[in-house]
Symmetry: none
Subunit: 408 residues, 2 copies
């Protein structure tokens, strides 16, 4: 571990506020998200703390952190209700009286105007910020955030709703970069579908990594991420070379490589970019994924249509196509061809499955057929797990089948 | 806030150890799981802390907690490798030298024997426990856990792998119940859709809550939860009476009430139960929600079919129904009626919208029309936010419209 480098880095902490976190009603995913981002900026994150809705505990904790860390990002407790105490606690800990911020109030008012709802009086509280705090605007919710320095530590306070917190973070990033002289590590993420974490690890055993490059893995619902963390100052071409080697070892399961220079995005984004670039469009018949494939492609205009039917035989009849329950691969192919004939130039993807979605002890066999201008492509695979796991896998694997057909 | 009751309760903390948590490579779901379980046992969980792999930081933190809490459950840092430092830190903080535990060693040996793998020498380290610690056996992995008291606090140390930690927790529970005299609280959750947190708080101002009942709120993506926490020993009929009053004040936005006796579930579950009980079925035309409504109803057989089309006018033409872009409410109604005529006895829900999904600065107006055997129902509402927020709201509000029509 490069202890010397770590010691020189500015230290950061994450502080999450809310009874729902301390009581375990929700998992604190904000802390991980913020840690990752602060680490990538060049901070050394040293501690996470979560406390509930008690003013004394909040004030005490702010004081502890103020004497210990260079930077702290706090989430939660900025809401309009009586159990939202963060701003009050900051005011006490920083000896900074609360001041009404007219611009914050105007933004909150605009939020309610945009939704044609009257602003409840309680929301006025959210426009009161500690004196001399830097306001961080909230483009997607009502609670503005703010930054201020207490003792040695630059504190940032953001709402606990992940979408709001994440939308506000770029502004925080700019402020922190102005306050600190940061040297960022370079993180490369190889994103893959259809291969497990341990299989990837095994394939990467042949990779010769220098001691100061860290290898890590993260299994998410939709993909497995292989992470290579290069220290600040690591030569760019050596980094690119190692990244390329790792990608080759993992193979065609890699659908995107995110580097500090460029993020390629998630699977729907990667597939969507290729479809648009080639001027293609698609219609889908979903069964096991029950609408989730289309839902994942929200905002992508190449997806022309989708249908789902609980009664697959009736759908075949509706399109005048023969359904054979014992030959699902052939049936999927026949329907994809038939639908392609009715809607010229729109690719047709048909998904059928055999087995029980709801029984977690049983897998299902998935049959995908894709009719393109150049011909028919098919894939068959087995997936297991709960109904929602199978649903998600069915959506993701169909999208990945589309990616492989597009040869991205 | 019922400070006295809280003060009387045994306090607990959660402490997670590991560089992967502090760096944000993984989300700390153990902390939430343990908090929920400790809360249900009757502890008052006050703080979560996570730190990385640094011996000094670990020893210092253990000392802080030892003087502050009655109970602390720690996960992680019990592995066989050199960066697993928890046991060593405990030994220093508790002034308890490490002792080789022959029974622990035998269990680790049996773990490897059962998998027909040789035991790596590094695992011997896991059989060394602080003097006088109570060993907690690990039925599913190699690292045993242990408990011991430091100053006022009973510490429990468990592995960070969730499956191992969870398998060992029943034994921990028995030990804690022997050490503490615990009484569990009762949590009631009122779950609602279509009303904001602050509006609920305003409506609940009329509710006379005893001082020892705690009121809290949680805004999730799909719903707002209003939580009433009743102390142990609170009379059941008084609890039910207050719950009923709160539900009446919030009004028909409440779709479910979860009590310690019974959980009613989320919106798709509540709607699904009513549809099945009444033997009803539904087909949907989705636009703004683009498949997400159907996706949320996975595993529910009353949803007979769903279609989505990027070209709404073409869909109307396909069903021989007139489309008027300037009269979306009337168009939705006409299509719902037309589709109902073609598929007797299946309710038809048609969703249309006006405005831009992708522009976060602009709201959309949503038109729902539902044709049932008893007649046509319609709703119009405005939603705002990012494309995915609008998509989710469109799906949830359509389901809620269905719930209101069913008069659940």
């Amino acid at each position: 571990m490069p202890t010397d480098t770590f010691r020189m880095k500015a230290t950061a902490e994450i502080f999450s506020q809310g009874e729902e976190i301390v009581c375990g009603q929700i998992v604190d995913s904000n802390a991980a998200w913020l840690s990752q981002n602060l680490n990538q900026m060049g901070f050394r994150v040293q501690r996470h703390t979560a406390v509930g809705d008690e003013l004394d505990a909040l004030v005490q904790l702010l004081g502890e952190i103020a004497g210990r860390a260079d930077c702290c990002v706090c989430t939660g407790g900025l809401g309009p209700t009586c159990d939202d105490l963060t701003t009050e606690a900051v005011s006490i800990a920083a000896h900074a009286p609360l001041r009404f911020d007219a611009e914050a109030m105007a933004q909150i008012q605009r939020y309610f105007d945009g939704r044609q709802r009257p602003m409840p009086p309680a929301n006025r509280k959210q426009a009161c910020l500690p004196e001399n705090a830097i306001r961080i605007d909230n483009p997607v919710g009502t609670a503005p955030g703010f930054m201020l320095k207490i003792q040695r530590c630059w504190f940032t306070f953001l709402p606990g709703v992940p979408a709001e917190m994440q939308a506000m973070f770029p502004a925080v990033q700019r402020q922190l970069q102005a306050q600190f002289s940061l040297q960022a590590d370079s993180l490369v993420t190889l994103r893959s579908v259809g291969i497990g974490e341990s299989a990837i690890q095994q394939r990467l055993e042949a990779l010769q990594l220098p001691d100061d490059v860290q290898l890590g893995f993260r299994a998410a619902i939709d993909e497995v991420q292989t992470k290579l963390l290069f220290p600040a100052g690591f030569a760019v071409d050596a980094r690119q070379n190692l990244t390329q080697q790792a990608a080759s070892l993992i193979g065609d399961a890699v659908f995107a490589i995110d580097t500090p220079e460029q993020a390629q995005g998630d699977l729907p984004t990667v597939v969507g970019r290729a479809m648009r670039q080639r001027g293609l469009s698609l219609s889908v018949l979903e069964t096991a994924s029950q609408g989730l494939l289309a839902a994942k492609c929200i905002g992508q205009d190449w997806l022309r249509g989708m249908q789902f039917s609980a009664d697959v035989a009736a759908t075949f009849e509706q399109w005048g196509c023969e359904y054979d329950a014992d030959g699902l691969a052939a049936s999927a192919a026949a329907l994809a061809q038939c639908l392609y004939g009715r809607q010229a130039m729109v690719w047709q993807l048909v998904q059928l499955y055999r087995g029980s979605l709801s029984d977690p002890q049983q897998g299902i066999v998935l049959y995908n057929a894709l009719q393109t201008r150049d011909g028919l492509y098919q894939s068959t695979m087995t997936i297991a797990g709960s109904a929602t796991t199978k649903q998600n896998q069915a959506a993701i694997l169909a999208l990945d089948f589309l990616r492989r057909t597009l040869q991205i």
